[in-house]
Structures are given as C-alpha cells and as structure tokens.
Symmetry: C2
Subunit: 438 residues, 2 copies
Amino acid sequence: MKIDMVKPSILPGFMELLPGDQIQFNKLADTIRKTYESFGFMAIDTPIIEKSEILLAKGGGETEKQIYRFLKGSTDLSLRFDLTVPLARYVAQNYSSLTFPFRRYQIGKVYRGERNPKGRFREFYQCDIDIVGNGNLNILNDAEIPSIIYSVFNNLGFQDFTIKINNRKLLNGFFEALQIQDNSEVLRVIDKIDKIGTSNATQELLCCGLSFEIVEKIFEFINISGSNQDILLLLNNLNISNANFKDGVCELSAVTKYVKLFGVPDDNFKIDLKITRGLDYYTGTVYETFLNEYPSIGSVCSGGRYDNLAAYYTKQKLPGVGISIGLTRLFYQLNEAGFFKKEVNKSITKVLVIPLDNNIDYGISLANFLRDKGIITEIYLEEAKLVKKLGYADKLGIPFVILIGEKEVENKTATIKNMFTGDQITVDFNASYEIVNA
Amino acid sequence: MKIDMVKPSILPGFMELLPGDQIQFNKLADTIRKTYESFGFMAIDTPIIEKSEILLAKGGGETEKQIYRFLKGSTDLSLRFDLTVPLARYVAQNYSSLTFPFRRYQIGKVYRGERNPKGRFREFYQCDIDIVGNGNLNILNDAEIPSIIYSVFNNLGFQDFTIKINNRKLLNGFFEALQIQDNSEVLRVIDKIDKIGTSNATQELLCCGLSFEIVEKIFEFINISGSNQDILLLLNNLNISNANFKDGVCELSAVTKYVKLFGVPDDNFKIDLKITRGLDYYTGTVYETFLNEYPSIGSVCSGGRYDNLAAYYTKQKLPGVGISIGLTRLFYQLNEAGFFKKEVNKSITKVLVIPLDNNIDYGISLANFLRDKGIITEIYLEEAKLVKKLGYADKLGIPFVILIGEKEVENKTATIKNMFTGDQITVDFNASYEIVNA
C-alpha cells in the first residue's frame, strides 16, 4: 500500500514539549495543584467546548475576535477562552447543589486565537482558584488569597517575589472625587504605566480630556510610596470624603492587616496604587505578582475581588475573589530565562533493571519488588549490547542501573551501578531497595 | 445595566461532575496516572487542536464523520479524536530527540461527534500508554503490558477482572489457511459475537460469502477453550503449517509464559480466540479487559501490538504496543452501576477551623500549623451562627472541625470535633495534629 506522507508538525502558537521540558512543566503544575489543594480548594473539570451563547454572553472586546468558534451540524460551539466564564456558568447551573463559600480550583487549557502568537500561546494552561460566596463574602477571603499566592511561589522555589495589591473602590472613589466621570480609560493607562513610561502615560491621559492639573494629581496619587503602613496613613490623611474611597481604604487596611496574620512576610507583600487590572471585571481588591529576578516576565499571578460572578446566568448574587496563573507562558518565560537546570532528566524512572544473558525472570522479580516498594522501575527488555543498554539509562538520566547476570541469579544478589558517580556495588536482593532509596 | 440572561447549561454528550463525583473521578485518574508512572512511563502533553491534514492523514471511516473540524482564518483545524495519532505525529516529529524504546503515557480529552451521545460521550478522557521501538520491539513488551493493566485495576480496587489476550497473526494465519482472502469483515463479526450471539454471527458470516463448512470451522476454532496451556497445546495440535499462524502461536506462547513472571495471577489472564479488536490497526498481540462483576460495561481497557506507528509521517519503522482506558465512560458506567459509595465527601478538606467570636488570629495560626504539617485545612471566614458553620463542614463531609473560642486562645488549646462520631476533645495547640492525623 502506497502511503501519502504528511510532514509532522503542530500549529503555530501551540506549545508541545520534549520529555525533559515536560517533566519540568509537570513539576510546576503539580506544585500549584498540591498547594491549591492544601487550602481545601476542590478540582472542577468543565468541558473545553461550550455553547457559544454561554461563552459570549458578556461578549465584546478582544474575546469575540480571538475565540475559536465553529458550527458542528447546526450547533454554534466555542472553545473556552478562560476558566472564569465556565466557573460562572457552573455555579449558576449547579447553584442548589453547591455548598457556599464554594472553593474551587481548575487547571486546564484555554484557547485564544492571538494574531501574532510569538511568545504568546493560542492554547495555554490557566491555573485558577476562586472562592465564591452566596450573597456575600467576607473581606478576610481577600487576605487569604495572598497567602495562597505566597505558598505557591514559595513551593515553586522562589523567594524574591512581590504580591502587589490595590483596591478598585479606592481608585474609583479617588477618580470620583476628581470629578472624572468615566474612569475606564484612565485605569487602562495606569495599568500599563510601567510598560509605557510616565511621559507617554501623561500624553494618553491628556488625550482622554483630563487637564494637566488633574493628571498631575493622578500621578501624585498613584506614586504614593513607603511601607504598607505609611501608604495607608497617607491615604487616610488625604481626607477624601468620597464613600467609595473610604470603603476602599478600609478594605485595603483590613486585607493588609490580615495578610500578615495569614503568614505572608512583609517583603513579599506591597500596596501599589498603580495596580488596576485595567479592563477586568474586578470591583474591590486587585492583585498582581512579580518575580523580582525576572522583571521582564511581568505579572505571573493576577486576580481580584468581583461583586457578582454570574450575572449573565442567574439572578443570585455571587461575589467572589480569585486568582489565575498563566502556566504555559510562565513556563516558557522561565525556560527562556534559564531558570531550569539544563542537565535535566528525560525520564522519571529511578531504576533500570538490565538482565544480562537470559536472566529475564530474576530481573522481572527484582523490578516487581522495587516497584511494590514505591520505586519507579523499568526493566530493559530489548536484545542489545550492554553498552547500548547503559546508554539508554544514561541518555534518559536514570540514576540507578541494576545489572543481573548469572552470578546475581545464583547468589540472589543485585549489582547496582550509580550512573552519576559510576560506583558499583553488589548487595542482596532485598538490600537493593535501601541502596536505590537512599 | 440591563443584562440579557442565558440559561446556564452544557452541550449534550459532555460530562461535567458535581464536587462529590469529581472527587471520585479524580481518584480514578490519579490511580491510573501513578500506576503508569510506576512503570517508568513519561507524561506527554500534545495539543488538543491539530492540523486537519495531520489527524486525517489516514482518514476514512467513522473518524472523518465524527471529527470536530473547522476553519480559523484560512487554517483547517481539527480536535484530536484519540491520543494515538498525535503520538505517531509526536514521535515522527521528534524522532531524533527521543530515546527508544520510548515509553509514554498521556491522559487527556479527545473529541468525537457521536450522533447519538446517550451513554457515550463527545468529549472524553483516554488514558493511554505505549512503548514505541525504533525498528524493532521485543515481544517481552507485549507480556509487560498485561502486568500494567493488572496493576491499574488492582490499584483501582478490583479483584475479579480478566485480561483477555489473542494474536492477530494467529487469526490471520488461520483465515489464510482456510483460503479466506479478505478477513476484515470476518474479524469484525467475531469481534461482536458476544454482543450479537452465535446465530446472528453465523448469518453475517454466511452473508460474507463463506460456506457453512468454513463458518463451522471458524466457530470451532474461536471457541477453543480450557486453561491457557490447554489452548496453546490445542493450537499446536491443529498442525496448521501457515507461517503467520505459527508465528502467532509462538508469540502467544511467549507472552503467556512471561505474563506469569511479570506477576499477573492465572485468574486474571486468559487467552480468548474471540478477541480480534475488529477494525483497529493491530498486527500482533491484542488485549481486552473485562470487569467480571460489571459485564455490561464491556471492555474497560483495550490495546495491542502494531507494526508501524507513524507510517503517515515518517519512513522510520516504529513498532509499538499500547493500551487505552476510556476513563469517562468507565467512570460513568461504574457510577451508574453503584460502584461508588453514596455518602461520599464533597470536599478534600480534612480540617475546618472555626473561629468563634473574634478569635480569627489564633485560628489562622492553627490552620497554618496544620497545613504546614500536610493536613488539608480550611478556615471558616464568614460571619455566621455556629450551626451554619458546622453545617458547612457537615454538608461537605469534612471529618474534623476545630473550634476556637476565648478559652482555647487563653490556654493555647484546640477543641476538636469529630464530625462522624460527634466526639469532642480539647487538646494543646501542637497535639491537634496527632488527633486529626490519626
């Protein structure tokens, strides 16, 4: 049969990893998952394909342009572009079956047809947690979230990172006090101020129709700095009587106080009035997280408080607070920046049992024995010269090889070779476990 | 702002679970994953969307009808309908970077637009392992696979299951000896014989143009029974001189011998000449697995040996052997059959710390302490009456509640309530860990 061959390739903007990188990626994902679970968040798994009317209920903006949408028969389908809209639909749909506050996490792929996928991805993992209340949700939850972010990045092996926090009520109140009617454009400009610089931002704000005096006041405000306590004091001293502003300062003070109790060190937590989460739907606390050794990556974990999660699907008021880690991009950037060790294993196997001659039976027994003890063990089953068998372990970075020859079978022993040091030792069958588990 | 509400729902044929069921599902998936890993299989993650020309390189049949295929801009895309075609593409694409035999597992969602999705799913998880050789792959690998199937189902809590095995060479050789030119239709009929019964199968085989005498011979052959040794003896005694037949018997004998050494009990492993894996691309050993207490589920784990994995993408000959578990359907059927306990937890949380009055600080310290010790711990942060707080733990099936009042703060103690027995005990802060970890 003649076969028409197709050149094997994947689509641009899709990440696919070789074994070594995949192991690193999986470690990141596992650490995030375990940390989320340690705080009692429950994994939920929603379909990747949903009805377009569900995903586009809010509609508008970039979402509609980027979404993967298609017909199957006469059904209008779309691939999810985030995990928040499916969560909203899930909670609305299962409202009467859920117990609130509903603490869920989801780690899953989402899809956005980015026009220029260079350094961005059209298929990528988001790792989300949300705490959704029924009618109301205590501000203390906003203080627990940074402790989860802290644990995640600490467990991932980072020390020098900063969780930056702000509050949208405080910002809204401040702009109201300045008589700015629609602040969405202002928030958008402030959101990108660290990228575009102050003079460009000034230009853009003036273009919004603000006076030079107002723009100056905005800059003075967002650049308020000092310790968290200093900033809170300065905010109080502004004597702005706007109710939103006061609420915001009050919330920010409470969150700051309790974040400390939740165990986040001062060094890792900073009020920053420039954090706005520009176009998002947040209504209170907002977060962004920066790895200080990798400033070019930008925020690695963002989120905030929203008043009403599922307004498009239910009349129930469901306030919540949550965060998201864009894992695919984070992995890509860390990998580019040389974060991962290069001499990485390409296998998770700890022991490769190599039967020499025809001692396969004994080799299988030993492999079964080690596996039963919890050691990830493979047995080399191909016919090949010893050098090729050792080469297999070497290429994959498998730390231990156990050689089984006539002698080992006769004496019920195992000859264990440490592939890193080259050391070789012959021990009793049972004792092999202690050696490879040391 | 007036909002047009959309009724929250998912597409038909898509599975989405409530927390209690999701916990059970995740346990199955985790067990499969850990078992696959214990044998040194490496997780690979391929994109869900691929180029249509890749996924449809082989084309034809049900695949092309069921596939989710669409245009994004001018790009012709499809959602993967299994994990084997992406594996073939991956191995061909990364051939020079991989070490062979390449042992990979993948647990992921695949998509098939089933016309009538009742009891079947359009989005479902497959859990695959494959061992792919470069040029050749020892028959011993075919014997290791049943030991992995055995471990998986054993670890999932099953004892009474049967891994049925056969060999396509043996079948092909037998049909060749009977002068049947194209046996694909015959294989298809035999494959469903347990579903449609002998008389319907006879009818269908006669319709294929076979004589009654030949059909009788086929039935006599496929119904050969007895112990595995008996069957192998009878096969040898048939004195069929066809080379394929002889090869097949030889392979089946070797696999049967080594499966025992790999630790699979006789009760769980059975040669069955009716197993054909009908329309699939297998060329040697074939497997199906049946849970004997749930016969209506049908095969829960199938697979086999193939000569050449990636013929559509590379000239390299890549033989392999693998299996697949259709997890979504397995979970659905087990759930329907009442396999899972009904009074299941709806949370993975082990301890809920409930601060009474305003003792939030001490409560947070205790929650942090337990979490650091590896106990999944939540703290109840909402303002509510005690009965509502306890109700939260009760509804979710959280086993321990720790009450923190004035007394506990004063004496540095914790009052622990066992939610199943109702027992309550007050112990020192540090001692709380031993109680909830017992």
